[in-house]
Amino acid sequence: MLDIKNLHVTVDGKEILKGIDLQIAPGEVHAVMGPNGSGKSTLAYVLSGREGYVVTEGQVLYQGRDLLGLETEERAAEGIFLAFQYPVEIPGVANTTFLKEALNAVRRHRGEDELDAMQFLKLMRAKVKQLGISDELLKRSVNVGFSGGEKKRNEMLQMAVLEPRLAVLDETDSGLDIDALKTVADGVNALRGSERALLIITHYQRLLSYIVPDKVHVLAHGRIVRSGGKELALELEEKGYSEFAPEAA
């Protein structure tokens, strides 16, 4: 599904990712863990095509196609979803309007009929119930005045509505209490399936107790320095990231 080869990325002229190799097959859940400043969010942003993240070397194939040549919205329409670490507030745009626009944009791209207001409403009712989100949040402006937990739930709602093939969760667990964490995990687990893949970016192990990964990678200083099974996360929780401190020059 996703094949990252020797990926080098610079931001403001500074090299952040220094040769990443990562393969994710359909149905798999991978976790990328690492200390702050290791390049985790850069990896998430470059996969979603954010401006300012310059690929200087390497390649990313998504479903066998060159991902890096696609615009952000094309990637979304092709099934890539980024759950933001800091979901953005958009005053004046109602959450439902936003979701409907997004869903219909993606459906158009896929050659499917757009949903009308009634069909959309029906879909929303079902998803909202699943995720334990109050109707009130749908009427409000996107993320405006939402608590940290509500923002993350809103990300999960968007993910549930857009049904991506590859979801990238960037520190989705940060700032969440245990209930919100479970909701997020439920949302993610509901989406797991043989057709989809997940990339979970996190600093801590605790989300991985609820979303059990198939593989865990340690990212440090722009490189994947170790890969292993789910037990690697527990080991990191115990020992911390100190062993991945910068090598002496």
Partner: protein, 442 residues
């Protein structure tokens, strides 16, 4: 520099004064003479005058304007901001002149008077002698002085004590192109006696492409407890010059609620002066604008708190594209003794092009010590984080940009209290965006 163009208006006045409405009324003739005299002294405003620092009338000076000459203009279709069937009271002015044949005054409530100034100068000059020209200082405002001299027609709305007129009154001003550039000087008088209530909609459009110079002056007097909702849509053509000077006096517990949308004209200026003259008086003075190309849009306002316990809320929001330029000059003055004045003012501009410019000059002038006043001005590009967020959910870039612009402006529109009007104002935003050139900011 300004002598020549100003002189042309003076000469025009000399030639036309005998034919102007109410020419036989000595009091009016006297005021017209005073107006032209003052205008001749002041000339057209130049950037040397502080309040005209950011708005140049240079393009106007190059043109020789004729006066509308009763040209037969046929109007096939009248635009309306109201949903079909909601417009019971409609007045149409073409090039500043009332057109009874296009208007439908409908059934007026008892105690209400609605009609054309020129007609009223014939039928009830005493009323006008007493009430016209009470507000505003033509000694300071050249365009108001010019209007005082050349005022030819306009709207008169007079509500007697307690008249509660809830159905909206729509006034459509059509600038109809003829071969020559036209100048006209409408004067509106809106007088609400204590306890009365009205909803007034002004809709300014152009018919055909031609140069027009509308120099409008309005006087609004609200008696105790009176409420006026005043909405304005200025959607004139790309060759229009639109100047609207408004003076309002708001009495005890009266409320003036205004919203204006400017999207037309090559050069437009709303110059609004409101006096909160009775305790408990309040105003909402809000506006929005969307401009592009070489358009220039100026909103200059002065709100004076004269007595204790008055309040004002003022929000202007605008979107600028291409090389357009906007000016916001907002002054809130709290006079000595006007304690517990409560005033808030905000100007927000969104610049979609690096060549667009906003000059925002918020000013507070406070001479009382127990007041709550604030002001703010922001100018910026689209929020890039929001844009990325929308695109990351699949919205095409153009749609994402438009959605953000719409969101920015619709906040201003949705605050208006006449729900009937929201769709038309929101539609104007959508129209404007859909006709934006595809080459977005590079």
């Amino acid at each position: 520099m300004t002598a020549a163009p100003a002189q042309r208006f003076v000469e025009q006045f000399r030639a036309r004064k005998a034919a102007l409405p109410g020419a036989a009324l000595p009091w009016l003739a006297e005021r017209r003479e005073a107006g032209i005299g003052r205008f001749a002294e002041l000339g057209l405003p130049t950037p040397r005058v502080e309040s005209w620092k950011y708005t140049s009338l240079r393009p106007l000076e190059k043109l020789a304007f004729a006066t509308p000459n009763g040209e037969a203009v046929s109007v096939d279709r009248l635009p309306s901001l109201l949903p079909a069937g909601a417009g019971e009271h409609r007045l149409v002015f073409v090039n500043g002149h009332f057109r009874a044949d296009l208007s439908a005054l409908g059934n007026l409530p008892d105690g209400a008077r609605l009609g054309s100034l020129a007609a009223l100068l014939e039928s009830d000059p005493e009323f006008l002698a007493e009430n016209l020209g009470r507000l505003g200082d033509a000694c300071e405002q050249p365009l108001l002085a010019l209007n005082a001299a050349l005022m030819d027609d306009g709207l008169v709305l007079h509500l007697g004590r307690g008249v509660d007129w809830t159905t909206p009154i729509e006034v459509i001003h059509i600038a109809a192109a003829v071969e020559r550039p036209l100048a006209y000087h409408p004067r509106n008088l809106i007088l609400l006696e204590p306890g009365s209530h009205a909803v007034l909609i002004e809709h300014h459009v152009s018919l055909g492409v031609g140069v027009s110079f509308a120099n409008t002056a309005s006087e609004v007097v609200l008696g105790e407890g009176a409420v006026l909702h005043h909405y304005k849509m200025q959607a004139e053509g790309p060759e229009a010059f639109h100047f609207a000077t408004l003076h309002g006096e708001i009495g005890r517990n009266a409320h003036y609620d205004a919203f204006g949308m400017s999207l037309g004209a090559r050069l437009s200026r709303n110059e609004i002066s409101l006096r909160l003259a009775g305790e408990g008086a309040g105003c909402h003075l809000n506006g929005a604008y969307m401009i592009r190309g070489q358009q220039h849009c100026d909103n200059t306002t002065v709100i004076e708190h004269l007595v204790p316990n008055t309040s004002c809320r003022e929000v202007f929001k605008g979107v600028l594209d291409d090389q357009s330029r906007a000016v916001f000059q907002g002054r809130i003055v709290v006079r000595p003794g006007a304690q517990k004045s409560d005033g808030h003012q905000l100007s927000k501009a969104m610049l979609l092009s690096e060549r667009a410019e906003i000059d925002a000059k918020p000013e507070l002038e406070i001479y009382a010590d127990d007041v709550k006043c604030s002001h703010g001005a922001t100018a910026g590009d689209l929020d890039h984080n929001a844009l990325f967020y929308l695109r990351s959910r699949g919205l095409p870039e153009r749609r994402a940009r438009n959605l953000l612009v719409e969101a920015f402006l619709s906040e201003a529109v949705e605050a208006i209290s006449a729900e009937d009007l929201c769709p038309a104002f929101l539609a104007s935003i959508a129209d404007w965006l859909s006709t934006r050139h595809a080459g977005d900011r590079s």
